[in-house]
């Protein structure tokens, strides 16, 4: 059985806090930050260490803010 671990990088200055990524994430990895960016939006940020790199967030993100990496780990034995 394989396990995937992922990382997302969010361009917070481009983010408008629409929350579409948060809704699309099956793992509840993302949430709105309490801080705001230069445009005054609360931006999306990673709040849990459980990303699988499925890229749903990046695909739904209207503003092309998200880059996703995914590492597949094959379980030994």
């Amino acid at each position: 059985m394989a396990k995937a671990v992922g990382e997302v990088i969010i361009d917070i200055e481009k983010c408008k806090g629409c929350e579409l990524c948060i809704e699309a994430c099956p793992e509840d990895t993302l949430a709105l930050a309490n801080a705001i960016n230069k445009k005054g939006y609360r931006y999306a940020e990673v709040v849990a260490n459980n990303c699988t790199g499925c890229a749903n967030c990046a695909i739904i993100c209207p503003d092309a803010c998200i880059t996703v990496y995914r590492l597949i780990m094959k379980k030994i034995a």
């Binding site: 671990v5 629409c18 990046a58 993100c61 803010c65 996703v68 590492l71």
Partner: protein, 264 residues
């Protein structure tokens, strides 16, 4: 029993070029878009530019952006573009495609542009079988002028010019121009998509790619309608607007292919 080496999994081991699964396309300028939070316009810009990049046709495509919220599409799409007068995109695209038949040509139009002020240009370009792609964003409202009725506004839907809801006796009926165009022999690929869920974004992207592949085969007019949202003028949060698409828009504007060329 031998010792299994433990590999520490951390950011550094994951964030490597070989593990990249999604990054924004280079064909999209790295600049914030002016659209409101959650607007489907930006999503469609993004996926269309992904298609252009994946097909490697950045240098062989010319776009037309007419009037509407997407009037500034040329600030985001890093390809040659022309801005057109309101409603005239299909005429402008006809002019481009007729003199440059070997280039890919697309228009990016809203419901007001494509289905109200530009109806004659739209229908006749389709009927002539002009070999270009129309990306038609249907969000049932005039976004740029801040929320007036569109030809596609649903029955009973409130807009600033239908403050008591759209009444067909006064305002006429919602206009399914895509269904109408599907009847024309010159239109060869006609499909209705949406970008309100991840799965739908993937499907919409596939449809856009299919359209350009059909264009390459010189088969005729391609129309990809995308049922989209307008959170600001619908007076909703972005998430509420996606729910409205699912519950109100899609029953009236059902998704799927209306026409596909044989053998494609």
């Amino acid at each position: 029993m031998s010792e299994i080496p433990t590999i520490e999994i951390n950011k550094e081991t994951i964030i490597k070029p070989e593990n990249l699964v999604y990054k924004p396309p280079k064909t999209l300028f790295d600049t914030p878009m002016h659209y409101c939070p959650g607007c489907g316009h930006s999503t469609v810009h993004k996926i269309f530019m992904e298609v252009v990049e994946e097909m490697g046709i950045e240098n062989d495509i010319i776009g037309v952006a007419p009037v509407g919220c997407s009037v500034f599409a040329y600030y985001y799409m890093n390809v040659d573009m022309q801005e057109a007068a309101h409603g005239r995109a299909c005429a402008v695209a006809t002019g481009i495609k007729r003199v440059l038949p070997d280039k890919f040509v697309f228009t990016y139009q809203g419901d007001g542009d494509f289905a109200a002020i530009g109806t004659a240009e739209s229908i006749h370009a389709a009927n002539r079988g002009e070999n270009f792609l129309v990306i038609f964003i249907n969000n049932a409202v005039y976004g740029m002028t801040s929320g007036q009725m569109a030809p596609t506004t649903l029955y009973d839907m409130v807009s600033t010019t239908t403050p008591y809801g759209r009444d067909p006796k006064i305002h006429g009926h919602p206009f399914k121009i895509t269904d109408l165009i599907a009847q024309l022999p010159g239109a060869v690929y006609v499909t209705r998509q949406s970008v309100h869920t991840t799965a739908n974004v993937r499907k919409a992207k596939k449809a856009l790619r299919k359209a350009l592949e059909i264009q390459k085969l010189n088969l005729g007019f391609q129309l990809v309608e995308i049922v989209s949202n307008c959170p600001s003028n619908w007076r909703m949060t972005p998430l509420e607007s996606l729910k409205f698409i699912e519950e109100q828009m899609l029953p009236f504007y059902p998704l799927g292919d209306l026409k596909v060329p044989e053998g494609i």
